[in-house]
């Protein structure tokens, strides 16, 4: 079955440093989603990328979808304490009645050193 891997599993950065997490799928994806989960919280949708090579920005966050649509990355510029949490990518596994069943990556846990 489809596998979605993320690296690194953990990342500790000094506040103000940049952070990047990478997502790799064993199969080509029609699209990819990113979610953020704060400590003790639940996953919250951040963004969806659909097109090959697509780049989207949300303030200090930059999301990229690979040209081959098998990988994606999330880059945070100048991290702040509010960025703490686990970041998950998720890709559709197959179609169910016209909708996709998402497979989540293992997540990258970001901690910030003040």
């Amino acid at each position: 079955g489809q596998q979605v891997m993320q690296i690194p599993q953990y990342q500790h950065v000094q506040e103000g440093e940049d952070f990047t997490t990478y997502c790799n799928s064993s199969t080509t994806l029609s699209n990819i989603q990113w979610y953020k989960q704060r400590p003790g919280g639940h996953p919250v949708f951040l963004i969806q990328l659909v097109k090959s090579g697509e780049v989207k920005k949300q303030k200090r966050l930059t999301f990229q979808f690979g040209e081959a649509k098998k990988n994606s990355s999330l880059h945070i510029t100048a991290t702040q304490t509010t960025d703490v949490g686990t970041y998950f990518c998720a890709g559709p596994e197959d179609m169910i009645f016209g909708n996709e069943k998402l497979t989540f990556g293992t997540g990258t846990r970001l901690t910030i050193i003040p």
Partner: protein, 118 residues
Amino acid sequence: NAGVTQTPKFRVLKTGQSMTLLCAQDMNHEYMYWYRQDPGMGLRLIHYSVGEGTTAKGEVPDGYNVSRLKKQNFLLGLESAAPSQTSVYFCASSGARTGDFSGANVLTFGAGSRLTVL
């Protein structure tokens, strides 16, 4: 505007006991999902439903049963709890596809239910 509500938030069970987790959504979503989250394992799909009266198995369905008698509710049952089922359980829902065919639908998650089986 509650979104997705899960009950209970916390539960401690003894091995062999049974229980039901309830998920309710008020967004008129067609699709509902139960995930479990374990350290280092990400989110794994247990069961899902594409509409009222339908259910299907996900990646890790063994030891769980589900029912979707009403569109807004999705129940997850443990008939005989085992310590391996100690986890945080998340319910999620999504609407029907809109837009072009290449876009998946966004999941809205509940706050989670932390289950401990002793």
